[in-house]
Amino acid sequence: MPENAPHPVKCGLEVHQQLDTGKLFCRCPTTLDEETTVEITRRLRPTHSEMGDVDTAALAEARKGRTYHYEASPHTSCLVEADEEPPHPINEDALNTVLTIALLTNANPVDEVHTMRKIVIDGSNTTGFQRTALVATEGSIETSEGTVELEAMALEEDAARIMERGQHQARYRLDRLGIPLIEIATAPQLHSPEQVREAALTLGTMIRATGKAKRGLGTIRQDLNISIPGGARVEIKGVQDLDMLPENVTTEKARQEFLIDLASRLEKTAHPDNIPNEPTDVTRLFEDTNANVITNALDAGHTVHALALPGFHGHLGTKDDEHRLGRELAGYARSQGTRGLFHTDELPAYGITENEVNAVHDALGTTPGEDAFCLVAAEETTARNALDMVAHRARLAFEGVPEETRQALEDGSTRYLRPLSGSARMYPETDVPPARVTSDRLDALGENLPEMPEEKAQRYEEELGLNEEVAGPLAKSVHAGLFDALAEEGVDASLAASAILQIRPQVESEGVTVSDDLLRGGVLAVEEGAFTKDALEEVLLTAAQEGSTVDEAVESLGLGGLSEDEAREIVEEIVEGSSGLVEERGMGAMGALMGQAMGRLRGKVEGETVNRLVREAIQERSG
């Protein structure tokens, strides 16, 4: 490839990581909750002013006219999440975390942090907006393919959890609303699927190094901006798995290439002006249909509407095509609350007969084999709105790739969510005072920068005596903070490392969760001699299964440390009981007696000690 050739793909990455600092604008914890004792029903009502004149994204949501139900519990939310109380000042701990990342990436922190309202009216925020604040600009990180600039670092509140999404209503839980998210956006300077993954990994590691990152599923999300030459900026939201990022880049690149190619093919057979503005009601043509989806819809009092797509025959594609216009159209239709649509490139099928297809062609005045049409069976307004969107999308097909926000799916593909948001939908959150970023504050943070994994690994090896194979992975893992805390408390480094890297995963493979607190309790108990390291796995498993404390688990397992004298008595008893064997074989009886002794002393006395005691007892007897 020549030096100046355009890159085949240009990606920007946004990493969103939840912080474990308490919520951003109230003092609620950042835990999720299964209790729901509070129920609130709301509607969001964007006025023309909130729409501004450019806010296509908000307008698309507003058209859905939904009712929102919120469920909450007093343990994880308060009146702030319910939008029944103004926000409190911004969480300084969370802000310091973002400023720390700014320092680590040589970014420019702003002098005053201003919280903004970003209009979001899908109900996921009770207020109708997400609070977000720009904290720093112009940082950079290194990747193996070069330096990547960081355009912005922001601090924002997470949205409520979606529990149920219906056609005219949605149900959310308020526990997640308001959890701080650090958002880091790179410039569109990532040029390969692997570089995207590497950048995400680097940023994720850096945030975790602050010790303020939340752990677990759903606590980190990546958004991708992708465009290719001749394509358009497409934002892919919510990639949870780092390893899926390269796949997402590859798939989106292919989708855009397909759409560019489609535009040039469409131009030859169709024209956007020929797409009608209004769909046609064709309900009567399906009164006697055998298509289940349609009969069910008609039974519910719904309608069937059709939209003619003149000259589109063969361009919509079938299930055999990985990328197809039909799927794009269906995505736009679904954004209006329909289940999907039928189109002629796939018909007859699904119980819709050729006669019915021809009857619709007749009604629309379109020609089979040249023209296409889409059918939507739904409540009338929904059907009309859906086909409006289909017509809009079909017209966009002539231009190639529309700017869109799409949702990442687990298989690496995406689905349409909404048009790309404009920037005008932000206005000041007047209820939150600006936060000053003074040089004193930055100096103080600069003196306490977190240790990066490489430095950590080195310290683990040099100061704590861990070997390289353990030190490296531990330093990079999300558990490094826990390990550091245990080491700080004086726990033996190899005990702490093996508890974290081996014993906990082993116990958790039984389907239970070992919390950091439980693990710490277990390790400290071993350190104090309450039981031995061999029994740690058993103790943790019991405690996790029974929801009990370490002490209770030790008790119920009948462990509990023995003094050496007590152990010696037991050993002597065993040796006494096998006196014949000892007389016969002397030290050769060691193996058998050791087995018996461990059977009674496991977890209570270290194996090494038992070994010595058995040896001494045999010597005494045979000696």
Partner: protein, 438 residues
């Protein structure tokens, strides 16, 4: 005088104002964006800029930094829809007193402007116009905490004019802090009303999608347009949900929460009814409308409201009563005050000030005969307020003293039920406040 900060100087030199596009160079970095108004809590050395991304940020500027004004983009104008008057709809006068029931965000600067003209309102709250032809008037523009009894009288005049001009009902948009004082005053200033007078406010400002302003206004307009009643009511959210609205009787409702949508609660009297998305339900028979409008009396501002508390001093009591015609004492429990202050009250009464005793409990009736303390208050000449809220008693005393020719007559006017502000029977009704949809 403090010398102008580098920010002021830079803005001055370039003649830059909020809304202008500017380029700033500070410490080797360049920022371009729209100049924003400085936040009240921003540093004097800080300039606020809105970037292309939509974010605002504050930049601390020094003498070495530069600012360049690039252009002044046109201001975005509010969208307006001229409402079509419909002959089949009643006319409702919308009296604005300040507070923004509907507003328009100027995106360039983030400034919020109230929608006051019919055209702006129709664009902002089109659903309200489905129930009535709305005739908006701005009576005054004030935060409700800044209102005085003079404003109540101005508002009464505006109500009279609006009914005389043919309005079938009246909706008053009002800040929520003192909305219940105004409602009580209006309920006393008219002894006959030809149609509903509905006060309405909002707990979430109208510049956000979750505002309760538009739905509260629409509920109030429905009541004003459709119900043939002749009394003053307050319409606000019944719960935290956007599903039902309570109709409170003037004199009985009180703002009981600083921020919740259902902040207004009726005390000692159940709400008169409820507005649902489909109907208006009455639990108490509303007062019928009269043929004519009739004013009743006026209001003096020579009345104080003071709360009794453990370290209250004689001097504070005397200061509260000084030059006042009336004093409402929100006492403890059934209506008590520290015993050693009773002689002071007696002095105040002897000097001609009417003293009434309400309760800080808010819920329940005063009774000055149960304890020695109360009996001494009666002997000193204090008048119990019975089941009147302290604020209701305060407004009513100001009205009674403003209206009556003699103190004795004022005492009678104060004690007799005038509207719904007091009844001889104490209701079971006792809002415990609480859960969302409970």
């Amino acid at each position: 005088m403090t010398p102008p900060s580098p920010v002021d100087r830079l803005l001055d030199e370039e003649n830059a104002e909020p809304g202008d596009r500017v380029r700033i160079q500070t410490q080797g970095d360049t920022y371009e964006g729209i100049l924003m108004p400085r936040h009240a809590f921003s540093g004097q050395d800080t300039l606020v800029v809105k970037l292309e991304s939509g974010y605002n940020l504050g930049l601390r500027l020094t003498e070495d930094d530069t600012l360049e004004r690039l252009e002044t983009p046109p201001r975005t104008e509010p969208e307006t829809i001229p409402p079509e008057p419909r002959e089949d709809l009643p006319t409702v006068a919308l009296l604005g007193t300040g507070g923004t029931i509907a507003s328009f965000v100027e995106y360039r600067t983030g400034a919020v402007y109230p929608a006051t003209s019919p055209d702006e309102l129709a664009a902002a709250v089109p659903e309200a116009f489905e129930h009535a032809n709305i005739d908006p008037h701005v009576v005054f523009e004030a935060f409700s905490e800044d209102l005085t009894p003079t404003h109540w009288l101005e508002l009464a005049d505006a109500i009279e004019n609006a009914f005389n001009d043919g309005a079938q009902g009246i909706v008053i948009t009002h800040g929520t802090d003192t909305l219940h004082y105004t409602a009580t005053a209006l309920s006393l200033l008219f002894n006959q009303l030809p149609g509903p007078v509905v006060l309405v406010g909002a707990q979430r400002s109208s510049d956000r999608p979750s505002s309760d302003a538009a739905t509260n206004l629409t509920a109030a307009v429905r009541l004003a347009a459709n119900e043939r009643i002749g009394e003053v009511t307050i319409v606000m959210h019944e719960t935290m949900s956007d599903t039902t609205w309570s109709i409170h009787a003037a004199g009985r409702a009180r703002k009981m929460h600083t921020s919740r949508r259902d902040a207004f609660q009726s005390l000692n009297h159940p709400p008169l009814g409820r507005i649902t998305p489909n109907e208006i339900q009455w639990d108490t028979q509303p007062h019928p409308p009269s043929d004519e409008i009739q004013r009743h009396g006026t209001i003096t501002d020579a009345v104080s409201l003071i709360q009794s508390y453990p370290s209250l001093t004689e001097n504070e009591l005397l200061a509260a009563a000084k030059n006042q015609q009336g004093l409402v004492l929100a006492g403890t429990g059934l209506g008590h005050i520290r015993n050693d202050l009773i002689p002071t009250l007696e002095t105040i009464i002897d000097e001609g000030t009417l003293v009434t005793v309400a309760s800080q409990c808010l819920n329940g009736r005063t009774n000055l005969y149960v304890y020695e303390n109360g009996r001494e208050l009666v002997q000193a000449g204090c008048i119990p307020t019975n089941d009147m809220l302290p604020e209701t008693a305060y407004v009513k005393l100001a009205w009674a003293l403003g209206t009556a020719d003699t103190t004795e007559e004022a005492k009678t006017l104060f004690q007799e039920p005038q509207a719904r502000e007091t009844t001889p029977r104490t209701a079971y009704h006792y809002p415990t406040g609480g859960n969302a949809d409970a």
